[in-house]
Symmetry: C2
């Protein structure tokens, strides 16, 4: 089986069928219809084996993650995902692997009504790049740069769980049973907050997704907004499983410095709190833990019970 | 310098400034405006070092190629390119390399009025994936599947030159002087036929870009159209440089089987020939060499002076 049959077989019909796709996989490019009154939203993320997931990860988890990390970027814009293209580089044609990869990618694509509209498959070291396009009502996208002093800082879900799950998989953290399983699942199958991101339009003053660690990504948000942030360590939401396996101090380190959360970190003017609570109540997800406040100045400070805590470094592929 | 400063420094302002970009590099995703009456066109192509370009290629040539191959896909749709995202995986932070890469990518982006709106830089084996988005008047895109028996088959430019250029660089073909330089340049700096592709809207019944070899890509076009093709070897346009260095027989092999041409291969109903000639005359490019005819049946046959010639295999990354 050659490259083209391979693409046809595994990727031609992956994800949702969408009436706004005029032409999908199989030509030189795909054709899609953008509805009036909407902006096009686009992002790209790459996964490299050994960098973004362990070499022994299951193929279906890799396929899931490849789209999940992009869905999280669109969630942070308040956008609705629509169409994806896949650039897949792999060392050899392994049909079992491809079948698993396509199943994982297809499952999350279908869940979020994303159609795979194009792909390019090449031979080389395992590298997966997904480009995701979506839509947002014109002028309503969330951005990093809108936080103002006095706004409250919120995070969805349970930051640190995914990083602890990876630490368990890699033997850097010990544990067993249901707690271990829950944390590992948070790493293996991140659930981007797409629906809740859309609910934040018109409420949040700024938003970013947590991929490189809460403190580092908050640092980016406040830098883009020209403000500072104070986080109260005691308010960090720690999951029961994380607390049980890591203990409080290490759990906070995971929550502040661990990557791969794919939660939303956002700011809300105090005047919009009631709107936020209404959205959070009907969202059915752990959607609004207030962890601190936007302040004048710059940078992120984390306050513990006995004063300021040192900041963890966020993930940086080329950092020192 | 970390990953984020790196992206900012080299890629934040690359390519054209476009008023339809509401938000470019630097947030979780980019925001663009699609004008009414247009379809969105999207494609992706990956370059792997040693697969798609020699390991010792100049960084600026790699940057140029990374966008050129995608521009060629959009040209084959008759679309106008607009916005690109870049997924760059590289083994280490090499500022000289990045500067060259950005210069090459920026040069061809500016030439075709493409804005780089997003990027992801990761550490790993050198792999470059560009996603390109563009626009086409709704319903007017060229496709592979529209060729009908009786249509004439045309190709732009001088197929085989780029493959001969690569053969020269790799020592599989010998030559010197201006001919060598011209062929190497065709490989190093492909010039996708974007403007001419747009002129083919309403004229060509089908179109594909030649990336894997003329015969193989023609095979894909006729398969998508449910027809066959007869190519007359004597009509293949061979450049003077290719003829001089390779001789007639080998020149034809390069023209039929060599990849990396990034020319357009298209079919035109006989009734539309005058329209085609008018467009070609004003295009100022070697835009319409008729090389054969679409026939009923299936597959590609190449007729030489003494009967049918064997078909070369097209490039297939996972082929036997």
């Amino acid at each position: 089986m050659g490259e083209f049959e391979l693409i046809d077989r595994y990727f031609a019909q992956l994800g949702a069928r969408r009436p706004d796709v005029s032409l999908g996989v199989g030509d030189d490019a795909a054709l899609m219809n953008v509805p009036a009154g909407h902006e096009l939203v686009a992002c790209v993320d790459t996964l490299v084996a050994g960098q973004h997931f362990p070499h022994d990860s299951h193929a279906d988890d890799i396929g899931w993650r490849a789209l999940a990390v992009n869905l999280s970027d669109l969630a942070a814009m308040g956008a609705t995902p629509a169409w994806a293209t896949l650039a897949l580089t792999m060392p050899a044609l392994d049909e079992d692997w491809l079948e698993g990869f396509a199943a994982g990618l297809g499952a999350i694509a279908t869940q979020h009504r994303v159609a795979l509209v194009g792909g390019d498959t090449t031979r080389g070291p395992l590298t997966i790049s997904v480009s995701l396009m979506g839509l947002v009502p014109a002028g309503s996208a969330l951005r990093r740069g809108g936080a103002r002093a006095g706004d409250l800082i919120y995070v969805t879900g349970w930051p640190g769980d995914a990083a602890a799950g990876l630490a368990l998989l890699q033997g850097r953290l010990q544990g067993a049973g249901a707690d271990r399983g829950a944390l590992e699942l948070k790493f293996r199958r991140p659930e981007p907050r797409v629906a809740f991101g859309a609910r934040l339009r018109g409420i949040a003053s700024s938003c970013i997704d947590v991929s490189d660690g809460l403190a580092a990504d908050l640092g980016r948000l406040v830098a883009a907004s020209g403000v500072g942030a104070v986080v109260r360590a005691a308010e960090l939401p720690l999951s029961r499983a994380l607390y049980a396996l890591a203990g409080e101090a290490r759990a906070r380190e995971f929550a502040l410095g661990g990557g791969d959360d794919y939660e939303l970190l956002y700011t809300v003017p105090q005047t919009a709190r009631n709107q936020l609570f209404q959205q959070a109540a009907s969202a059915g997800a752990p959607a609004c833990h207030c962890i601190g406040e936007v302040v004048a100045g710059r940078g992120v400070r984390v306050l513990g019970e006995r004063g300021e805590l040192p900041l963890p470094r966020g993930w940086d592929h080329f950092g020192p």
